[in-house]
Symmetry: C2
Subunit: 443 residues, 2 copies
């Protein structure tokens, strides 16, 4: 038996903890044998001292073992998943997963609703009339075995230890610790049962990891945790300096996803999906190289097989596939579309992605609390991104708005997020680096 005091002190004094010591702390805390205040001191010590890859892996496994594991064994083949650390206007899941399934990958994804600037992927899918995000497990498995794609809502209690620890971190300023973030994300991913995971680690003004070095560190830790747990892992470090694509909302992001699957979407969104998907295909063993994967992904856009896969999924989950053909008519709409105008001539020099996300949330596109109801029709459609020239009174964005008061608040926030300068600046780089078990490759 260990002493909690000694384990806290050991971490505080920068010694590496044994597997059993970590297990003792996490299990003891879950069983409420270790009080909050000792765990809080431990977490702060971890904040300052960090954790080795092995320590982070053991922490993660302990959190996985505290709850259910999703059993995907009835699904044949290599199940691949993607996880993004979260950004603004991140429509990738709706584009990427159909493309990967169309290319021969297998996507059996369970995902949370989450709190954020907009809803999560399942919220966005709910804008499609009839679409069911909750399926009985048998039907979920049957669908994946048949069309290689299902996206449903997570209902099982995955990694409850993480939930309990996260609540404590949230109250004690110990959230932004890389091993703790990595453990929190990976515990839910490992419990979700995929054989391989591609991580999209965002960095920049709209990302949780603002600094590039922190993003790299987080990616390395997550890749190490996953590999040590027997999963195939790749992480891409990507830009969240400005919102991804043009749409930030729910229904309007679904429309943008459809456009992108048709090859008519924003280039940054398409490029990111092609790169993430290529790596998903690579670790799935569908392709031999990333370039081959990219080629395959681009073809699935050109030949419409990705869009067709999305339609198949909508149909398989009781949605109306016609909504994919006629999104402007069949998806939810806001009451009004109001342009927000540039206050001056110049070039877009910077967009604070976080603030744009918060503006979308202010419009009603996201949740503050779990119980909040999302307005699926509202959102922000950008007309100008970094590097674009703009004239005074030309629209910077179109607000899809349903509430005057909310609109005014959101508009104020939105305008403050734009910096318009005198000189043209280049568009921000999209993909900075790739991290896998072989190390970091910078682009």
């Amino acid at each position: 038996m260990f002493s909690v005091y000694e384990v806290i002190k050991k971490k505080r004094d920068a010694f590496e903890l044994s597997d059993d010591e970590i297990k003792f702390m996490i299990d003891g805390f879950v069983k409420e044998e270790i009080p909050d205040y000792q765990m809080a001191a431990f977490l702060m010590a971890v904040f300052f001292r960090g954790m080795s890859g092995r320590e982070a892996m053991v922490l993660t496994e302990c959190m996985v073992n505290s709850g259910d594991r999703v059993d995907l064994s009835a699904i044949k083949g290599f199940k691949v998943d993607k996880h993004s650390t979260g950004g603004v206007g991140d429509t990738t899941s709706l584009v990427l997963n159909p493309l990967v399934a169309a290319c021969g990958g297998i996507v059996a994804k369970m995902t949370g609703r989450g709190l954020g600037h907009t809803g999560g992927t399942v919220d966005k899918l709910e804008s499609i009339p009839g679409f069911k995000v909750e399926l009985p497990k048998e039907r979920f498995i049957e669908n994946v075995n048949k069309i290689h794609l299902a996206l449903i809502s997570q209902t099982q209690d995955l990694a409850p230890a993480d939930k309990k620890i996260y609540a404590l971190r949230d109250a004690t300023a110990t959230v932004d610790s890389i091993p703790l973030i990595a453990g929190s994300i990976m515990s839910k991913k490992l419990a979700a049962g995929a054989d391989g995971i591609v991580l999209d680690v965002k960095t920049g003004s709209g990302a949780f990891m603002e600094k590039y070095e922190d993003a790299i560190e987080l990616a390395k830790t997550m890749v190490e945790i996953g590999e040590l747990s027997g999963r195939k892992m790749v992480a891409l470090i990507t830009s969240m300096e400005e919102p991804l694509g043009y749409a930030i909302g729910n229904a309007i992001e679904v429309k943008e996803a459809i456009q992108t699957l048709k090859g008519e979407g924003p280039k940054d969104l398409e490029e990111l999906c092609v790169n993430l998907g290529a790596n998903m295909l690579l670790i799935s063993g569908v392709v031999a190289t990333v370039d081959e994967g990219k080629e395959k992904m681009r073809n699935a856009i050109k030949d419409g097989s990705g869009l067709n896969k999305l339609k198949q999924m909508v149909e398989a989950q009781d949605g109306n596939p016609e909504a994919i053909d006629k999104p402007n008519e069949l998806l939810p709409k806001a009451k009004e579309e109001i342009p927000v105008l540039s206050p001056k001539d110049g070039f877009v020099e910077k967009i604070n992605a976080l603030e744009v996300g918060l503006a979308a949330k202010a419009l009603g596109a996201g949740r503050e609390k779990k119980e909040d109801v999302i307005d699926l029709g509202v959102g922000i459609y950008l007309k100008k991104k970094v590097g674009d020239p703009v004239k005074k009174d030309e629209p910077l964005a179109i607000f899809h708005s349903s509430d005057k008061k909310r609109h005014e608040e959101a508009k104020k926030r939105f305008l403050a997020a734009y910096k318009i300068g005198d000189k043209k600046v280049p568009s921000p780089k999209l993909i900075f680096a790739k991290v896998d078990k072989n190390g970091v490759e910078e682009y």
Copy 2:
């Protein structure tokens, strides 16, 4: 109103806290509006980030304000106090305070019993037949006004916030943080009401601050806290590499104090008392220089006025003053005096003071828990100290023992504390440095 989260984060990120932020944390914790777990995270952040002198002073003042303050205003003149950070065989209080009072200083000391290798000063005084350590406040004040000296037991609830915070630190590995240690000590000292305080900050194997640099840092922080709170402060950094003097116990330390007041005590104990006392006289304004103070202290030994002052105090507190003249007859005694023999020829190279202290505690000289009863007669009387030559089977010490089983355990511990080598080593240096508002002066 502040956010607890933001204050924790601010300290975590190495920013300096405002007075109000510190007050908010301490007051909120005492009122139980701030939960243990947030305080624990805060304390761990303080452990890693430290505190400025001003921050430590504000923390200390908040802890003082959480409870009573001893009101010494009815005592005329400058009240001077001494505090030691704790060592082994530390008989200074019983020697020093009578000497200082004999030289014209004013000592109105209230002190706790404490947990330690031996009892506290009041426990030691209780070996004197009839001696009352609890006096009504009026009598305490009357005694000090009359003879300039009283040593009584602390009964008021001083700095309860410190007690509450200390209990949390003790469970969360946040005890050994210099600003927190300094705040804890100084909150009780400031509440105790003295106008000036001389600190004896021990360093070495038997001290809480093993490292010299840490002792200096602690001394600087305490001096700064005291000065910022309007007290006159001096700290001496002194050696606790081996026990101070020869006696470690209660009655045997009283005997040693009497010998020292007669000029027949151990030279290290006498030297330390002379130096601490000279600084007490200096800040009291009784002397103009430390050298003058030392001279005065030495004279009070030579002319017997210090011993006489002790007798006056014993009488004033209802003790039998004859016990001071005939300590061997009138003070408590252990059942047996058993020599502990050297296992070999050589020179004493090192004595682990902490282990010798624990051996004395094992004999029954100290408390583990508040409720434990001390055996006032038992203790260890050293015959050999560092640098002394020793022959095989010559006594290293005389154990004053009352219990065979305890004796055996203590003996084992004691022998392991002695390192006997082949070459003579010099006696350890006794006083390393002085710290006051002007800075550090190394000797």
